[in-house]
């Protein structure tokens, strides 16, 4: 794809929004203004953004216990995510989800599924429905390296392949399942190598390079939309922060972290934009201000929103038309 067709500036803005949003979440969490835990996506933004740039509002996207980045990239409003993190009635799940279950079906994102690997067969089912109902919708499921050792991965990929379903699996290999390193639980170099066993194309992509992710996802999503079946894209990436907010990261070296941080997709994309003549320092500063303002607005909305009623606990156990 020619560089001129890649929406690099839009993707930069979305990556920056995710980064600043989560930095703010972390700050609010440390202040005790957000309850619960947080699994931050900082470092992995290029994956969500490079993939979701190809998705329509009516395409399905399924996420994990680390869903804020995916949600923002799919178009869930900052206000409704921030309100959900604040456990407010105006949150995208009305306070029933929290950080690990943000989602909004009006923009095609299921409440994130925080059971590792469980979204893999569900994505195949959404793809089956899209196909059977005669639409050209696709389903995309994000998951981590750890999910590839779940039975649901094997069962889900196999069924997606045998039924030729319009689903794209995006494995974000950040090399750690909580504290366990990839090399301890995989005998192979690439998770994508497993796709051969299912009769499905697999791709390995630099997950720190939003353009590379965008190119790979574009091919896979177009294939799915044409009815040519599923693909798995493995994006090698890294979370710059701990697994969750209580993780001191004592299982990995600061040197390893520094190597990955040197490849931070956000400053790299800024440099690329300037090198390509698509923006300049002043315009980037404007984006930074606009992003901060949008997050300020989301926080103000969340903080001024009402709490749910305690008895709202009893609502929505069953669906009511």
């Amino acid at each position: 794809m020619p560089e001129s067709q890649i929406p690099l500036l839009d993707m930069y803005r979305t990556m920056l929004t995710i980064r600043r949003f989560e930095e703010r979440c972390n700050y609010l969490f440390m202040q005790g203004r957000i309850p619960s835990t947080l699994h931050l996506y900082i470092g992995q933004e290029a994956v969500a953004v490079g993939v979701c740039a190809h998705l329509r509002k009516d395409d399905y996207m399924l996420s994990t216990h680390r869903p804020h980045g995916h949600a923002i990239a799919k178009g869930v409003s900052l206000r409704s995510i921030m309100a959900e993190l604040h456990a407010k009635a105006t949150g995208c799940c009305k306070g029933k989800g929290g950080s690990m279950h943000v989602g909004d079906m009006s923009v095609g994102m299921l409440p994130a599924i925080a059971i590792v690997g469980a979204n893999i067969p569900v994505a195949a089912g959404l793809a089956l429905a899209a196909k059977r109902l005669g639409t050209d919708r696709v389903a995309v499921a994000f998951f981590g390296d750890g999910a590839a050792n779940e039975g649901a991965f094997h069962e889900g990929l196999n069924m997606a392949a045998i039924w030729n379903l319009p689903v794209v699996y995006v494995c974000e290999n950040n090399f750690y399942g909580a504290s366990t390193h990839f090399s301890k639980v995989f005998k192979i170099a690439n998770i994508a190598d497993r796709t051969e066993a299912y009769g499905m194309p697999g791709m390995v992509v630099d997950g720190m390079d939003v353009e590379a992710v965008y190119q790979a996802a574009g091919e896979a999503i177009a294939r799915a939309r044409r009815g040519e079946g599923p693909t798995l894209i493995e994006c090698k990436t890294y979370r710059f922060v701990g697994h969750s907010r209580s993780d001191p990261r004592t299982y990995r070296s600061r040197e390893e972290e520094a190597e990955w941080q040197a490849r931070d997709p956000i400053p790299h994309t800024a440099q690329r934009l300037i090198a390509l003549g698509l923006t300049n320092a002043a315009a980037l500063a404007d984006i930074e201000r606009e992003v901060e303002a949008a997050i300020d607005d989301a926080v103000a909305f969340a903080e001024s929103s009402p709490l749910p009623e305690p008895t709202d606990t009893l609502k929505h156990v069953f669906y009511e038309a």
């Binding site: 799940c93 599924i113 569900v122 089912g125 899209a130 196999n158 069924m159």
Partner: protein
């Protein structure tokens, strides 16, 4: 009006709903393979001839996976009827049923619907420990799941049709000895649950139980096979002058509490009979409801007649000991007088 078995009634329910709504489809193991059985107990036999293999979708042996596919398909606008050959295999699918199917509506703040039907055969039938368990209590415990347990052909058809039209996940427990499956899938020791099924369309609403036999002296609550055990016990008790009222809740979630409570308020005695094992079982829950809400009408302690706290055994002499017998029900009732 036609006479049919439960297997035939379930098949007719599926056929009618698939004709009525193109979004309805079946998914499971060995359900539509040409020359196959039509599911382990013949319920889907022949349906692929009418609806094709896209709507009678045979799967790999991947219970977790195809249950997850069904969850996704339901969220995406289809209405799957999932078939696991034996209820015991539901344990393989537990994550998808409990964490995904049952919680997705709640986690989404009421915006997502999961119209999924899971059909699961239960009951000890000379197959040993892993193809025999009665699992109802595992699922009545899960908020977000509805649970039905039809014991007659009429109810099987009417309840399944209601379940297919429901916008929530519904688990259907079917008893292997009640199916009336024919040919090589006929079950040894089966009870004939052949019954009249109207020719015209009807639904049995979820959440409404029935009184199978009226009586003034004791209330016996059963489900699936134990409804029949309770009815036989009631006939024997009548010879001794004890008139038992036999209640079949038909739906376990939502439960028709009022029917049971009204009966106990009339009779003053309660025996709950189930094939599941005792501890943490469904019978204990019924006993607790009655103890909380109708204690002052009770003239005697509540009795549970359940399987013992063991896995289902194989040897027929042990299995006959394990499954609550008519005699055990009779003795339990007599102990209250």
């Amino acid at each position: 009006m036609a006479l049919m078995t439960i297997a035939e009634a379930l098949r007719q329910a599926i056929r009618e709903e698939m004709r009525r709504d193109p979004r309805v489809f079946c998914i499971g193991e060995d359900i539509g393979i040409p020359g196959g059985w039509g599911g382990a107990f013949t319920v889907t036999l022949g349906l692929a001839d009418e609806f094709g293999h896209e709507r009678i979708l045979d799967t790999p042996i991947s219970e977790l996976g195809f249950t997850g596919v069904a969850v996704g398909a339901a969220i995406g606008g289809l209405r799957p009827i999932v078939d696991v050959q034996y209820g015991d295999f539901l344990f393989l699918a537990m994550d998808q049923l409990v964490n995904e199917a049952a919680k997705m509506t709640y986690m989404s703040g009421g915006t997502i619907r999961v119209p999924l039907v899971m059909r699961a055969p239960v009951g000890a039938t000379r197959r040993g420990a892993q193809h025999a368990q009665s699992l109802e209590a595992f699922f009545t415990h899960v908020p977000g799941l509805k649970v039905i347990a039809p014991s007659t052909a009429y109810d099987a058809k009417g309840l399944l049709k209601s379940a297919i039209r429901d916008d929530n996940p519904v688990i259907v427990f079917e008893h292997k000895l009640l199916y009336g499956s024919k040919g090589p899938r006929k079950e040894q020791g089966a009870i004939s649950a052949v019954g009249e099924v109207p020719d015209e369309e009807y639904l049995v609403p979820l959440g409404k139980g029935v009184i199978r036999r009226e009586g003034r002296d004791v209330t016996i609550v059963g489900k699936l096979l134990t409804v029949y055990r309770a009815l036989e016990a009631a006939e024997r008790l009548a010879q001794d002058g004890i008139e038992a009222e036999v209640i079949d809740p038909r739906t376990l979630v939502p439960l028709d509490k009022g029917l049971i409570l009204d009966s106990v308020r009339k009779t003053g005695r309660l025996v709950v009979v189930e094939e599941d094992n005792l501890t943490g079982g469904w019978a204990g829950d019924i006993a607790a409801i009655v103890a909380e809400e109708a204690f002052y009408w009770l003239d005697a302690p509540i009795k549970r007649v359940s399987a013992p706290d063991t896995p289902p055994p194989f040897a027929p002499v042990m299995e006959d000991f394990y499954v609550p017998s008519v005699e055990r029900v009779v003795q339990a009732v007599k102990s209250l007088f």
